[in-house]
Amino acid sequence: MALSYTLQVVNLLAALLLLIAFAMLSQRRIAGLVTLFAWQGGALAASTAIVAWSTGQHHLYYSAVLTVVLKVVAMPWYFFRLIKRLDVDREVEPMINIPTTMLIGIVLVIFAFNLALPISQMAGTVTRSTLGIAMASVLLAFLMMITRSKAIPQVIGFLAMENGLFFAATSASYGMPLVVEMGVALDVLVGVFVLGIFFFQIRETFDSLDLKHMEKLKER
């Protein structure tokens, strides 16, 4: 173990990211989910900042600040407001029960680790071993999206997936070019606001944010 302490901290934060991804899978309340999402954003920002500091990649600082502003402050705040205004903080009701979901999650983690192994061996970055974790959190977020039937958890799953992707970018290649990161962040932001409008439309029409009502458009 010849890693410096800063990188060990990055590893720890990576593990934390994965832990939070799992916690999200097991979380039943929407408010708890939002809190976890904020924490995940925090861990992501902290690890990005530490990587920036230890490798001298200054553009990563912007990315970290962006993450804090968007994913730790703005979006959770917006979600809490939505939850309050739409009055939807009840149980999340997964479509598959939670222990099964977690088991599938473990399988996904193993799969991701195996997939990432050959790539991370090629990476020149010091943070390469975290690539597997990034992939695992992407897959776990994906799992959360497909096992939840309510609108807000699905979106949080989507954003958690974005978190995982950002983390992958940081760990595999010290982030993407700044323009691209800005663009991605803009898209995410616009997406969240579009969805905010959308929630109200859904709510207005269906009287609920439960997507189980949305099963009309099936292939007959």
Binding site: Q57, L115, P118, I119, M122, A123, G124, V138, F142, M145, A151, Q154, F158, M161, E162, L165, A168, A169, A172, S173, Y174, M176, P177, L178, V179, V180, G183, V184, L186, D187, V190, G191, V194, L195, I197, F198, Q201, I202, E204, T205, F206, L211, H213, M214, E215, K216, L217, E219, R220
Partner: protein, 483 residues
């Protein structure tokens, strides 16, 4: 210079219409901005044809024969759709399905959607390509749910979530691409420029690139509507306003496929194998077959033609997957033909459903008696999309199938069966809609069918005779795709 106009006009149009879109003449303003975009695109095309590929703005934009052809097509269809949507949306408003607020949203989003697609086409940066593809999705989400009916909300939600998930895969693919590129080109903004990547594609790490391509294909392929990732497409087409169905089908799918093709060129260079092509052929063939058999079961006319779009995009993907000069040429030709024909069909279908008051095919009967022009345009469009000679779709399908017979004979039975099934079911369903008995009332408005006939005329013309400069141009583009 033209490139800035091409991108700037839709953006300005979007802003303008977002701020002042409540005015009564907003549809005309929308059409005007689209016309300006078309003019700028025409100027850009003329320049590329004269001067060859150019790079603008420090290498941020790159235009060669391949994408300028799509830019021209996009601008053209966007303009004709704007013309079509002018009376169409007025009628919708009179029927009380829309109000001024939503029309403002519609017009502003329309321009931004076109702008995002043009940006996706012209940018040289694979990251920006991703950003603008996502932007195009976001611009259309609220358009799909424009009517605020339960079904349209469901369709929009599906559209957002499925495309969001898909596009996230594409982002991962892009990250992997950058990861491979960064080792050759060094970190920083230039490592994602397609031209730079193309220059060093032989040195890129093959393992990483093959993985990256899988993610990119799955990601952008979701937007192309390739089976089994096509679920969003029929819903979004059926539940959104018809002009949006026309541009989704005619343009967005092309742009997504363009993104796949750009990646494929890089991956082919790095791998030196047919992996990318084979994957595309597999997905393409599956889409053709799945879509053809699902067409049979449709009762909603827009849904049916949406599945037909999946089928045709599958065919194009299959053609590009085969690679080689002839197949790529055929693929490009088919892309053009499909865009023109399918948007024409949606225009006709839009008016037909408006007059019948339903999208269910059982409710639409005897168009030829009540609205001869709509009836004829729907019939002609259908015949064209089914690949009946002398329309252009026949030429491109013929080329694709003969190439497939030659190079991949195993695939031809599948293709022919699928095309046969699609032919039988679509024709069998459209025929009573056009010629059946009816008591439907006439539309109070004159339908805007000029765009339909312009599109179909072009398709007919290209079926009979492709002007030599156009053929040259296609050939150049096909060569860029590794022909």
């Amino acid at each position: 210079m033209e490139i800035y106009w091409v991108l700037g006009i839709p953006l300005a149009g979007g802003l303008f219409l977002a701020l002042w879109g409540n005015r009564g003449n907003a549809p005309e303003i929308n059409a005007l901005f689209s016309l300006l975009t078309l003019l700028a695109a025409a100027a850009l095309t003329a320049r590329i044809v004269a001067e060859g590929p150019i790079m603008v703005g420090d290498g941020w934009f790159f235009i060669d024969s391949f994408n300028v052809f799509l830019v021209a097509l996009t601008a053209f269809v966007a303009f004709t759709t704007a013309l079509f949507s002018r009376p169409y949306m007025r009628i919708e408003k009179e029927h009380g399905r829309l109000n001024d607020q939503r029309l403002r949203l519609y017009h502003a989003s329309y321009q931004i959607f076109i702008g995002a697609m043009l940006l996706a086409l012209t940018t040289n940066n694979m990251g920006i390509l991703w950003v603008s593809m996502e932007g195009a999705t976001l611009a259309t989400v609220l358009l799909v749910s424009l009517y605020r009916t339960p079904a349209s909300l469901e369709a929009a939600w599906k559209y957002f979530i499925l495309c969001g998930v898909g596009i996230a895969q594409a982002l991962f693919g892009t990250i992997l691409l950058y990861f491979a590129a960064e080792k050759v080109l060094g970190a920083g903004g230039t490592a994602l420029l397609w031209t730079h990547l193309n220059g060093v594609k032989e040195q890129l790490e093959p393992t990483v690139l093959s993985l990256a391509f899988v993610f990119l294909l799955v990601g952008y392929g979701t937007k192309v509507g390739l089976a089994p990732l096509h679920n969003w497409l029929p819903d979004a087409h059926a539940e959104g306003p018809t002009p949006i169905s026309a541009v989704l089908s005619g343009l967005l799918l092309n742009v997504a496929l363009y993104a796949v093709m750009r990646s494929k060129v890089l991956v082919d260079g790095a791998l030196g194998t047919d992996l990318a092509g084979n994957l595309m052929m597999g997905f393409g063939l599956l889409s053709v077959v799945v879509a053809a058999f699902l067409i049979k079961r449709q009762t909603d006319v827009k849904r049916m033609f949406a599945y037909s779009s999946i089928e045709h995009m599958g065919l194009v993907t299959f053609a590009f997957g085969m690679g080689g000069a002839v197949a790529s040429f055929a693929g490009l030709l088919h892309m053009t033909m499909h865009s023109l024909t399918k948007s024409a069909i949606f225009f006709a279908v839009g008016h037909a459903t408006q007059s019948a008051g339903t999208q269910l095919m059982d409710g639409i009967r005897g168009l030829i008696k009540t609205h001869p022009t709509i009836g004829w345009s729907l019939m002609l469009g259908t015949v064209a999309i089914l690949g009946v000679p002398p329309f252009g779709v026949f030429a491109s399908e013929f080329l694709i199938i003969t190439t497939a017979m030659h190079e991949h004979p195993w695939a031809t039975p599948f293709l022919l069966t699928a095309l046969g099934v699609a032919f039988a079911s679509i024709f069998g369903k459209v025929q009573p809609m056009v010629f059946g008995e009816t008591e439907l009332p006439r539309l109070p408005h004159q339908p805007a069918l000029t765009p339909v006939f312009v599109h179909l005329g072009l398709v007919l013309m290209l079926g009979l005779f492709i002007p030599p400069y156009l053929a040259d141009w296609y050939r150049q583009a096909a060569a860029l795709l590794g022909g």
